[in-house]
């Protein structure tokens, strides 16, 4: 599944699970 396809299914703007190795993703996880 491409990132665009994933973003059509999962709201990656609110839940950046694809970016967990970045600060953005990690701070989401910490929340």
């Amino acid at each position: 599944m491409t990132l665009d396809q994933a973003n059509d299914i999962i709201d990656l703007t609110r839940f950046p699970i694809d970016r967990l190795d970045t600060q953005e993703g990690q701070s989401f996880l910490a929340d």
């Binding site: 599944m1 299914i9 699970i17």
Partner: protein
């Protein structure tokens, strides 16, 4: 995770939820419905305790299940289930280096249907965690109740469980979910149930992952919940 659960409301977009439901709706008429009495531990009774002891006391569950092989191949659930980023996310939540989708022909992904008063009685899961996507809450009832960390590996806390089963516990909490909610639930030590559902059916997709590749259900479990072994 202190309450034994992570709930992400709005995780799956509303359009995607509707696509999942519309796609699988024709298969729902072929869902397998089961009902059974069981103890909270979902294992055989312990003869060292009497039948009314919380270890052996019976509760009632009934539900319908659409099996993995009944969910059309193009259903979005299949894409979500295998998406590496989701697997990595769940592994991070669990503090595991990696998790793996089940390779079960019926149970890897399934859709639970609770309607017409169907319910899940109090129980502990046998697996460490379960991940679900709420597709449609019941219009009446179908409330997910749980008691965080009611037991531990060292202490079964039968007194606490007895109060829960008698409806006298003040520790019971409600896990609110809406259509599109993602839930990771630590059900092995956290007792939980779903109250009877009425009106619009409660539809929940269960995504099963394990700590090692190749995990499957037992044939007995398949027979019980799917009415067939393959």
């Amino acid at each position: 995770m202190k309450d034994g659960a992570v709930v992400l409301d709005g995780f799956m977009r509303p359009d995607a939820v509707q696509q999942v439901i519309s796609n699988v709706e024709p298969s729902m008429k072929d869902a397998f419905y089961c009902s059974n009495e069981h103890n909270v531990y979902l294992i055989n009774d312990d003869p060292d305790f009497d039948n009314e002891h919380p270890r052996n006391r019976k509760v009632y569950s009934d539900k319908g299940i659409v099996a993995y092989d009944q969910i059309p191949a193009e259903n979005l659930l299949h894409q979500v289930y295998g998406w590496q980023a989701l697997k990595d996310f769940i592994a991070q939540l669990m503090g595991s280096p990696e998790i793996f989708p089940y390779t079960d022909p019926l149970g890897s992904v399934n859709i639970n249907i609770n309607n017409d008063g169907r319910q899940l009685g109090w129980h502990y899961d046998n697996s460490k965690f379960v991940t679900t996507l709420m597709l449609q809450p019941a219009s009446d009832g179908g409330v997910y109740e749980y008691v965080p960390w009611l037991r531990s590996e060292e202490d079964q806390n039968f007194d606490g469980l007895d109060k829960v089963l008698k409806g006298k516990s003040d520790e019971v909490q409600i896990l609110k979910q809406e259509a599109g909610s993602f839930v990771l639930f630590m059900g092995k030590y956290t007792a939980h149930r779903v109250t009877p559902s009425h009106g619009d059916p409660r539809l929940v997709a269960v995504l099963s992952y394990g700590p090692e590749p190749g995990k499957t259900l037992t044939k007995e479990t398949r027979q019980l919940f799917y009415g067939r072994t393959q």
